[in-house]
Symmetry: C2
């Protein structure tokens, strides 16, 4: 009566594995600034709860397996704003971007198949794939290069007969990289030449700074049959706990088959879909404001990091993360030390060790991911503590 190899081989969440240390620190009276997890402090738009309260909740009924028609319509209209035209049947509602990625993996890969992915990558991609016996093949990118994609041949040499898709988040978690049009074109060409699906995780779309435009892959021509766009209300609308994501693809055979996966689990929580529909109807000015908020926080984080000696980190361009190489041997030890041992006037910070964001063993050992999800005052304080802590740690 053994557990399966696939579950035993899964890694613990590097974002959440230090939680027991944080709980203990808090129990001992320390204040902990959470920069470890992408949980923004920004209020969820009030339209979310208003929509739920206006809904007939006498019987909390099953929704459709594909999703609530009003939410599908709202997402369709949302894409239209950027001249992206999906049909209603092209859109499937999922339990967060998480389920969207699991379903996409199951539908495109058999056990033993491979998906290419730039590393460092959103660590839960490991879970979505390894739990269904699919292997991630990392395309290494480096802090020194600002985590830009390598040259085309560095990518294509990784392709085997088992490669089924290329997956990336853009803007990137954890790197903050916003792909240029040229980089997107390169990925497009690689996918076409090697007959791969393109899984574009765009949950941080519209969160690109410095006047950059964050394109959707759906704005590119010639890949509508192979493109699968993942989205979510979690980050853009600060509604992480709603667990509303979506899959959008013009490949009808794909969506028809993913619908079978949707049917097996019946539906996504009904009320949350009603609430989410209201979010996708918010004007563009809402996203603009959110972006500006994060851009200011990014400036604070990047400024501090630039000022700390021997920290390697290029300016992140989007999302709300940065990966920084720290002047420590083992970043996980440092993160544990921050929670267990260190405090500055009773305060400390929690970071995510970046090793778990890499697929290649040994990489990222001296790196951390910082999520700038607190207000400017708190971010300043937290970054000050990081600087002081590094000073103490390295003495």
């Amino acid at each position: 009566m053994n557990l399966s190899k696939r579950v035993l081989n899964m890694q613990e969440s590097p974002v959440r594995k230090l939680v027991p240390y944080a709980l203990k620190a808090k129990k001992n009276g320390k204040k902990v600034y959470h920069l470890n997890i992408g949980q923004p402090d920004i209020e969820t738009p009030k339209e979310f709860m208003e929509a739920i309260n206006n809904y007939d909740t006498r019987i909390i009924q099953y929704s459709y397996s594909q999703g609530e028609p009003s939410l599908i319509e709202a997402i369709k209209d949302y894409y239209h704003r950027d001249n992206i035209y999906f049909d209603n049947e092209d859109i499937l509602i999922t339990n967060g971007g998480s389920e969207a990625l699991t379903f996409t993996t199951i539908a495109t890969c058999n056990p033993g198949d491979e998906i290419l992915i730039p590393e460092p990558f959103y660590t839960n991609y490991n879970g979505f794939t390894s739990e269904v016996n699919v292997n991630l093949v990392p395309i290494t990118t480096k802090a020194e290069d600002g985590f830009r994609l390598p040259k085309r041949k560095e990518i294509t040499k990784l392709i085997t007969k088992k490669t089924k898709a290329i997956l990336f988040s853009n803007p990137g978690n954890p790197t903050g990289v916003v792909l240029t049009k040229n980089e997107m074109d390169m990925l497009k060409e690689i996918a076409i030449e090697n007959d791969l699906f393109i899984i574009s995780d765009e949950v941080y779309r519209k969160m690109a700074f410095d006047g950059l435009k964050s394109y959707s892959m759906a704005e590119l021509d010639g890949i509508s049959d192979r493109l699968i766009v993942i989205d979510s209300v979690s980050k853009r609308f600060s509604a992480c706990g709603a667990r509303i994501g979506s899959i959008a693809s013009k490949n009808k055979e794909l969506t028809k088959n993913i619908l079978k996966l949707c049917q097996a689990r019946l539906c996504v929580a009904t009320l949350e879909q009603i609430g989410a529909a209201s979010l996708y109807k918010l004007p563009e000015s809402y996203s603009e404001e959110i972006k500006n908020t994060y851009e200011k926080r990014r400036d604070i984080v990047y400024q501090t990091l630039s000022d700390i000696p021997n920290v390697v980190c290029k300016k992140p361009q989007g999302a709300f993360y940065v990966v920084a190489k720290l002047p420590v041997e083992n970043a996980e030890d440092f993160c544990v030390w921050l929670l267990e041992t260190y405090n500055y006037n009773g305060e400390t910070i929690m970071l995510a060790p970046a090793e778990g964001f890499y697929g290649t063993k040994g990489l990222g050992k001296d790196e951390v991911r910082i999520a700038y999800v607190l207000n400017e005052e708190e971010m300043k304080r937290a970054m000050f503590i990081l600087r002081e802590a590094l000073n103490v740690y390295n003495q």
Copy 2:
């Protein structure tokens, strides 16, 4: 760029595949009584929305991966009522019973492994297993025998080296069978002797009629290391759209590993968990009342079925389904005909063809599942229509 075999091989939901016919019938002005899907007409207790409205919804935040502590506590206390003692860490909250079953399958089985299951079975078990490359091995039960379990050796002869678990729903969907203490003991002994996990789907627990007690497998001794109990608020509390389920097991290694699957998808919708906690706090009298309601409906359905010539069906004892063998050659054709062609004064019924509830090819072709989820008046009307329709169909 082909889709995966595992997704292509998945069957369409037999409960939902006739939906296009139903939509067309309604468009043409027909009233359709839905006996095809387990969506009760009973109002969700008002405590559900009250709890949500009393919750701080300013930021819809991630919940814990394991689940909201208040919901875990409420489920623990709910089991205590029946002298079942789980620790908080033994309970994991999932996206409905659906995700609970998917996670349990992934954690207990590698690709190619097998799970034993009495057939006919809840058809979505097919999805939860085949999408992760696990095979269901059916233990055939028959309408003529009231779908009771066969003798022990009929079950044990199906066990191979690849058999990892035995799975069943009790009270049974779609059969309405409530396992006796003796049958449960037999399953327990089979599991112990063959070192199998026991996956006990108890989402219909407390819905047993005729004064029968529906035991939880957790009330049995000697299996705490191999028992996994699945539960959900969907049916017992008429909150299908909340998508709140749970896994409970005293096998700490199992729950620790399933927690990794929970972490990969971050969490279950926060608000729905808050609402669900209030449901598990409802007094036993609530379940008693719901049970009495379904028992009266069961009586109406069973009485009518008994009166129709050549229908084979024993009295169901629990849940809110019955599988009946009809005097037709192909039940799916009959179900389509009901929607496409037939009407009785502008009304018709929608049933679920039972073939999809069997794992053995060819079985169940002349059977349907009827969900008695409408009020007594409507159930009477719907069953009257079934009787009339069979008359017309067989002329």
